[in-house]
């Protein structure tokens, strides 16, 4: 059981190629981290997996537990178990957080089935408490006027409520203060287990002290160029990306 990305090529609709033959396999029960320079294609990868309409896949496949999801609508992918914590969560004016999450859960039920309200609020409050999100946030519009850190916490809250089988966290640590980082990481760790595979995108090794990955990848120029254990993150932290880029160039000209 895994999320397999096989030789994925993709570009902005009618534009330039961003992913160039990307391979990755995220097994259930494991946590993979991706690091990589700005503009290397990390967010694009996550959005393409989720089915964002701005991009077109020109080659390769994405298999979720063996099913190719590339032809599916974004909402069908979500209901199939895929979750994306956005790097830049969108504000939805007028729609309260509680109603939004409730509607998302309701969308997972069979026609005619109704979400049980008391149970729902029980779960919601429990997860909010864990993430130390004040109760007042249930009534506020989704992400509207939230601080950067509050938005990230809210993404993790939605993930906790929707219980995906594969979750991509795109820079969930950026914008979090040190205390918040610990709380959010604890929230993510609480969700770790044999039933979920995670892909954590980050720029900072620090996050990986709290969410310890099984594997670390480096993404450069739309491809995974290096894969190793957690120690790779330390190496990047001290040396940056230039040495990898240099090695790549050397290999290309050789």
């Amino acid at each position: 059981m895994s999320l397999v990305i096989h030789n994925l090529h993709a570009r902005v609709v009618g534009g330039q190629e961003i992913l160039r033959g990307l391979n990755l396999e995220i097994e259930k029960g494991r946590v993979h981290a991706i690091m990589g320079p700005n503009g290397s294609g990390k967010s694009t990868l996550s959005k393409i997996i989720a089915g964002h309409p701005d991009y077109e896949v020109t080659g390769g496949e994405v298999l979720l537990d063996g099913v190719n999801i590339l032809g599916m609508e974004p909402d069908a992918r979500s209901r199939a178990g895929l979750f994306l914590a956005f790097q830049y969560p969108v504000e939805i004016p007028g729609v309260s957080n509680a109603n939004f999450i409730r509607a998302a859960l309701q969308a997972r039920l069979a026609a005619g089935e109704e979400l049980e309200a008391t149970e729902y609020y029980g779960d919601l409050y429990k997860e909010m408490d864990r993430l130390e999100i004040p109760r007042g946030f249930t009534a506020r519009s989704v992400n509207e006027g939230f601080s950067g850190g509050e938005k990230k916490r809210n993404e993790v809250l939605q993930m906790a409520m929707l219980k995906p089988s594969y979750a991509i966290l795109d820079e969930t640590d950026s914008g979090l203060d040190i205390d918040a980082l610990k709380i959010v990481a604890a929230g993510v760790n609480a969700q770790r287990g044999p039933n979920i595979g995670m892909l954590v995108i980050t720029h900072y090794q620090r996050l990986l002290d709290y969410i310890v990955p099984d594997v670390v990848h480096v993404l450069v120029g739309g491809r995974i160029v290096r894969t190793a254990g957690p120690e790779l993150a330390y190496e990047l932290e001290s040396k940056g990306y230039d040495w990898i880029k240099d090695e790549l160039e050397a290999a290309a000209t050789a």
Partner: protein, 470 residues
């Protein structure tokens, strides 16, 4: 993702889109002439003053040009000579649901009436094509002197009240369509609430068009006597026909000293209906009139509910929601005519345009120089779902004199592809995502609406969104 799909697909108006074969006892035939009017007046056995009123109105209608110089050119596609102006089975509605003819009964039962009557209404009137087929009110209200009947019965049984107020708030010549209605009107409600009587539950009328190539011209007159209170709700549907159908109503409200009237409209016309309605109220001293107007569906709606604030401290309010889907134009607004000191008015309009749907707001606020202490607040908010939508605002505010205050705010917002994607990523379909945004957009306004009405409105919005993405 959203734009192409939205702009291509048509609306499915499931609940109202059915009709039964017609067999009318009374049929004025196709086209409009003085003979049509004589037919209607004969069949209805009307007094001479009404017959004359109708004939004069037809002359006014014919002499007035179409308002295409400022309004939609689509008005030219109404073929008055191809429309049927009067279709009815009987002249008097029954008071017992059992006596309603079977096919008509089936129609209204499918639409949820008389279920709702049992649940929360003080009285119901159901109009099928030109005339009311059913009319009933809780007995206790009748004992208090409340009158709630069709306009035909109102004219026959209560001429002293009817004649005093009829055509006074909206004169025949107000506009081309009020003249048309004045010539051929039939059906609609007549309500009188005696002094001090406060109705706890709403009165409801249901207007149903069943026949093709038909024009429905109901005429409603509500008089709330001093210190009384009444809420009236109207619902409208029609099946989807190939040809255009015309709905042109005139609604006049009179709120006497200290009276309160709330008039709620749930309009869900199919996309072939021209809906050209004139609605106006006169509010006397310390009276309050609130129009809650929700326009969903139709091909073209032109409707600007108004309040003439005639007495000191009178209050007028228009809360409106217009949803313009593909191929639809909602041209709506409000008129507030201040005619006494310390009068206040409030207009909140929310419009939603989807695909090529077009929403226009036309507002008129008039406060003459000699008045003191008048206030108006106007807010118009537009929500655009995709870039081809159009929204226009034409506020006309004439305020003279320094002792008066006006406040005007307008906003336009978009449901962006990013918002839809975000919601879809959480598992909501595109239609559900749009419904959620639209409901969010109208939410603060809907909170002011009566409960039963907000539930119905939410259901209609969901249906409309499903239809728009197919």
């Amino acid at each position: 993702m959203s734009t192409e799909t939205i702009s291509q697909l048509d609306v499915d108006r499931t609940r109202g889109d059915f009709h039964y074969p017609e067999q009318h006892t009374f049929d004025a035939g196709v086209g409009l002439s003085h003979a049509t009017i004589d037919y209607i007046a004969d069949v209805k056995n009307e007094p001479d003053w009404i017959r004359e009123f109708r004939h004069k109105a037809l002359d006014v209608f014919e002499s007035k040009p179409m308002p295409t110089n400022w309004a939609s050119k689509d008005l030219d596609n109404i073929h008055f000579d191809k429309i049927r102006y009067y279709l009815a089975n009987a002249q008097r509605p029954t008071r017992s649901w059992d006596e309603v003819p079977d096919d008509v009964k089936r129609t209204f039962e499918r639409l949820g009436i008389p279920e709702q009557e049992r649940k929360f209404l003080a009285g119901v009137e159901a109009q099928f094509d030109s005339e009311a087929v059913y009319s009933n009110m809780k007995k206790a209200l009748g004992d208090q002197g409340v009158i709630f009947v069709g306009s035909t019965d109102g004219l026959k049984d209560h001429p002293e009240i009817f004649r005093k107020w009829f055509g006074k708030v909206i004169p025949t010549g107000d506009n081309k369509f009020s003249a048309l209605n004045s010539a051929v009107f039939s059906g609609g409600s007549f309500i009188y609430v005696p002094p001090g009587v406060k109705l706890k539950h709403p009165l409801q009328a249901y207007f149903r068009i069943n026949a093709e190539n038909f024009g429905q011209f109901e005429r409603t007159l509500i008089i709330a006597d001093e210190g009384s209170e009444v809420m009236y709700m109207e619902g409208c549907t029609a099946p989807k026909f190939e040809t255009a159908t015309l709905h042109s109503a005139v609604v006049e409200l009179v709120a006497l000293k200290g009276a309160k009237i709330q008039y709620v409209t749930v309009q869900n016309w199919s996309a072939n209906v021209f809906n050209l309605v004139t609605k106006r109220a006169v509010a006397h001293e310390e009276a309050e009139v609130k129009w809650i107007d929700c326009n969903i569906g139709s091909r073209l709606t032109m409707k600007y509910p108004g309040v003439v604030l005639k007495g000191r401290k009178a209050r007028g309010e228009v809360l409106s929601i217009a949803l313009a889907n593909n191929g639809q134009h909602q041209d709506t607004g409000a008129k507030m005519i201040h005619a006494a000191d310390e009068t206040t008015s409030n207009v909140i309009s929310k419009s939603i345009s989807i695909g090529e749907g077009r929403a226009s707001y036309r507002g008129q606020v008039h406060i003459p120089k000699h008045l003191k202490g008048c206030k108006n607040n106007t807010e118009c908010d537009a929500l655009l779902i995709n870039s081809t939508s159009r929204t226009d605002t034409y506020p006309a505010i004439t305020v003279r004199g320094s002792g008066n205050s006006v406040q005007h705010e307008a906003s336009v917002s978009q449901v962006s592809a990013e918002q839809i994607f975000y919601m879809q990523q959480r598992g909501l379909s595109e239609a559900q995502a749009m419904s959620l945004s639209v409901n969010g957009f109208v939410n603060d306004l809907v909170r002011e609406f009566p409960m039963e009405y907000s539930v119905e409105l939410k259901r209609l919005i969901d249906l409309e969104m499903e239809g728009s993405v197919g």
